[in-house]
Symmetry: C2
Subunit: 343 residues, 2 copies
């Protein structure tokens, strides 16, 4: 029973400390430390008794004191954008990858009122052993400055690795994959909904153009700029529909744009994929919903984070920063099919 500890907490007394446990168990303080950390150096009987006493007292080790005393904090800080599905996936993978290497994760969120710099600073104060920044909105200079203070890994931004490491997927290769898939289905009038001014959008657009040329479809290259939200894409799609001939397939720069397109298509009676094939980009959670089932380009988030953590550990152990570029893959679902009528 947690009688004693509970009573203490309820009456506003301090939490039990290691010394309390040692006293109650009739052993020295360091011995309790040994038992709590699960390292060797205590007999089995002592270990059992100490653990039982600790449990009875409701003892919880103080992470602040532990990390202060240890040279390394065994903490990897992750800066992510709150509410972003792609970041949510990455954070989940971060927990898994860090745990495999004996590290804990310290989270710091970027929100409408909390900048990347603020988020990173709070982790710096916690003395994380390394920082992993998910697509941070910081320029190279700010990132370098940060990286001089702590090993830093930038995820999913195309940046020259300098004092920090970079891990990202090859965005050009991604849209090339998308176009190649549509070409193999028999499409020729393939348009691209391009993200205007969005990071990574340039590479995705270049990959689209390259793949069209490679397929001998130079004449059909058709780039429609759009904004970052579903609503922007819906508007662009609506304007596309005022044309004489619609494309038979659409490659969008991200899933949100693709979903905006799907929505408008449904409302206007355009059958996807019979009348129009759509390929998104990101393989975000909504894309995987069965009733959306969007064919899309996946960045392989587990591998992205596995590499990010590996790069962090490399830097912690003194190795120089470097860049890792991963290959995206095609997830074929239900929004692509051969065109009903060819050109």
């Amino acid at each position: 029973m947690a009688g004693d500890g509970a009573a203490r907490a309820r009456t506003g007394q301090r939490n039990p400390t290691m010394a309390d446990v040692a006293r109650a168990a009739g052993v020295s303080r360091p011995l309790v430390s040994i038992v709590m950390r699960g390292v060797s150096g205590a007999s089995e009987s002592t270990r059992r008794r100490v653990l039982q006493v600790a449990d009875e007292l409701g003892y919880v080790p103080d992470a602040r004191a532990r990390k202060l005393r240890q040279s390394r904090s065994a903490l990897i800080g992750v800066v992510f954008r709150l509410g972003d599905p792609f970041h949510s996936d990455l954070v989940e993978d971060a927990y898994a990858s860090c745990a495999r290497h004996g590290y804990e994760v310290a989270l710091s969120a970027v929100t409408g009122t909390r900048s990347d710099a603020e988020a990173a600073l709070s982790l710096l104060k916690e003395r994380c052993d390394a920082l992993i920044l998910l697509a941070p909105a910081l320029d190279a200079g700010e990132l370098s400055h940060l990286a001089e203070q702590v090993p830093t890994v930038v995820v999913s931004r195309k940046l020259e690795p300098a004092s920090f490491s970079v891990v990202r997927a090859d965005d050009r290769a991604g849209t090339e994959l998308a176009v190649a898939h549509l070409v193999s289905l028999g499409h020729r009038r393939i348009a691209h909904l391009a993200g205007a001014g969005v990071v990574a959008a340039d590479d995705r657009e270049a990959g689209y153009a390259q793949a069209m040329r490679d397929a001998g479809l130079d004449a059909w290259i058709d780039i429609v700029p759009t904004g970052i939200t579903e609503a922007d894409a819906a508007r662009s799609m609506a304007s596309l529909m005022t044309r004489d001939r619609l494309p038979t397939a659409l490659v969008t720069f991200n899933d949100r744009a693709a979903i905006g397109v799907l929505d408008i298509a449904a409302r206007r009676g355009i059958d996807v994929p019979a009348d129009l094939s759509v390929v998104g980009y990101d393989d975000s959670r909504p894309a995987r919903l069965p009733y959306i089932a969007l064919t899309t380009i996946a960045q392989n988030t587990p591998e992205l984070m596995r590499e990010a953590v590996a790069l962090a550990l490399e830097q912690i152990s003194g190795q120089p920063p470097r860049e890792v570029v991963l290959h995206p893959s095609l997830e074929i679902r239900e929004t692509t099919a051969p065109p009903q009528v060819d050109v």
Copy 2:
């Protein structure tokens, strides 16, 4: 310039400490502490000099040491479900509310592989002054056990406040609002898509039934059970459409179900709101997207978190736990309109 500090970090030396700053500035350590905390007790000239030296050295205060020394950690722990839009909103509000009271936020995520209990334990180790749990999947016993160790506030779950405080919106009142809105538009055949086995779904269903009775529409009460995903709702909607007469309006137990309905409606050529009015529940981010524009019940997340933080502070200052029930509100957007043909 951060020359010295940077060089240190890059060559793997330790970070500068307060003692380093004191030495370089030619003052005592506590004086540096006074300056860094911005409290009174240092002359303006000293203050300026210390701050400049600290900046040159690239000094960042060590949060672990500070929190260890202080009796209170000035930290409020928040346990949230990663990737849940409602939780994302709440966390964002938590940052704002905590900052107003001089508290920082320590985040701990619940994921597919990380339970509420694990998430809470890691915050316990950080010695947070209080914990705020967002719709935790823990039973009353587990919550009580936790609350004996640290002031605890449970958000958005209907639970008898015991050793912990509870803040939630009135779910019955929410669906009553939804039905009343539809009735005022002239609807009578109003069905409810009910969440099977989901927390809060019972109250929402009860509120629907109550409001129907209050409007004298007992005969039209029509409760269709469904699952928790958009796809579940889409299936339920499809089966609803095999009936002779469709309802003219639908109240769903959450936004995800509503969005599943909207999707199927668009695909089957049912015009929302002309043929069918739809009211969701939660006012989640997707509901607010302009191309969805879902009429829905809002829980007022800023107020929910404002109350949660207030309840946490109350408990920290020794007051007993209690319950706060907030009133939800109706957000009228574009998925509701008068019925085209009445019964």
